[in-house]
Symmetry: C2
DNA sequence: AAATGTTATTTGTACTACAAATATACGGAA
DNA sequence: TTCCGTATATTTGTAGTACAAATAACATTT
């Protein structure tokens, strides 16, 4: 794989440019990797060479490299140089996921996406589910029987759903849900006053779907029943999202 | 918001550390933002101050900052310093999404996740769908009628599904699907020999679900029908994924 | 008071220097 | 010869200095 073709900063003084030199180098590097169809194991020119070729300070090259390194696209090793590797998909998502940085609208959209995934994996769950899976779910449900209705401690609730993602068997979905889980915790603790009445209403209407209900549907192989139930189980959040739109307070301290 | 509390590199010489100093500073900064519950608009200490406080070269601080800047967590402005902003969710995903970097297994998992989302938004679609949406879909389907069966040009196929995501109304799902679309294109062009026979088989069995079929289910408000159909429509990919497991050639050049 | 000019601060880029790691080459011993 | 240890050279990681450009805050003038 040749190391030429990266040529930036010819004569243009790029003042008043909205993007910095680092941004441009980063883009060039990504472009280089894509256009040359580099695959894991291939190497990039070393920093000093790039610096000379592009006529750009090594500092700037390093900043751009540092970004790709953070995303897991490249790895650097002394004397060996820089090699391309297979990056994890969701590193960036993990780093930016911080409820305090998000608007309520964003939080709603994230919750909605999680719900879509939870509904979308129903078939995977029933196709892959084993007796061991059911056993594990049963144990979790039994642990939760001391708590009434939907008021499980967050850790137990997380364990239950996480176990279900495992059954579905898609690592990215599992990881995604784990990452955004903190958003749900945040919403519940910060908008408790909105959740409580919704929960009460659902309970009165007999629409409250407990984790045990979900478990039973899985155990009984009732795909349609589970599908309906999971929607009901998560409708709590859907209702919350509608209500949250009215109360746009950010609960700063 | 106070600017203290970031204290790194006390006396520990951190040699033989697997993580670099930049990694640690990045982590410290994210930690600082989280722990102090900074919200968009809040400011971070400027680079020189951080450099002095932490006893770390400004270069290193800048590299870490550069990473957060890339993710959209912070913005820097001359003289004003560094301010926290609401980051986009999927910047990282977008940057790492490059089919040539992914193993077949990863590609499979991504495709599966896309399919899960496509199935999971069925309810959203039917809840939100308007007459205009149906009109637009109709136009796309009409454009596609010159092509037989599933052999739409990628752009048209993309437009159709993208329009459906728009109906569902979740910006992150739309964005996610757009980002990973390139993976599907890649799979189709690189594993055409696998797709063709699957398509033929489906056609013979009369199980081939065309985009027009999908459109009609939406137009007729047939939620269950659409749900079934979209699964059939995407089963092409599910079958592909099973087959791809056997042929682990990476088609390098 | 408004407009204009000045100053000081902060980021962006460039450059140098050196420590640490390590792949490679080299050399000696079995 | 082959194997093992050592030396060398290369490359990344970190530190530090310098300066240009932008701009917020302040000062001055009209």
């Amino acid at each position: 794989m040749n190391n030429e073709g990266i040529n930036l900063k010819a004569k243009t003084p790029l003042k008043f440019s909205t993007t910095t030199l680092v941004d441009q180098v980063e883009e060039k590097l990504l472009e280089y990797i894509r256009d040359n169809r580099l695959t894991p194991g291939d190497t990039l020119p070393n920093e000093t060479l790039l610096s000379e070729n592009m006529g750009i300070s090594r500092n700037v090259i390093r900043e751009a490299m540092s970004r790709l390194r953070m995303l897991g696209i490249i790895q650097s090793r002394t004397k060996k140089g820089i090699t391309v590797v297979e990056p994890p998909l969701l590193t960036g998502l993990e780093k930016v996921t911080n409820p305090y940085l998000f608007s309520i609208r964003t939080i709603q959209d994230i919750m909605e996406m999680r719900i879509a995934l939870e509904i979308g994996i129903v078939d995977f769950i029933f196709n892959n589910c084993t007796a061991d899976d059911i056993d594990d779910l049963k144990k979790i449900v039994e642990q939760g029987q001391t708590y009434e209705d939907n008021h499980w401690p967050v850790e137990l609730e997380k364990a239950f759903h996480q176990r279900i993602y495992e059954i579905a068997g898609n690592p990215f979905i599992t990881q995604f849900q784990n990452i955004v889980h903190i958003i749900f915790e945040f919403a519940k603790t910060h908008y408790d006053s909105l959740f409580k009445p919704i929960n009460e209403t659902l309970k009165k209407q007999g629409k409250l779907v407990t984790h045990e209900d979900l478990y039973l549907f899985i155990r009984n192989g009732d795909r349609a029943g589970y599908s309906q139930a999971i929607k009901g189980h998560l409708s709590l959040y859907l209702d919350f999202m509608k209500k949250a739109e009215d109360t746009e307070d950010r609960t700063d301290n």
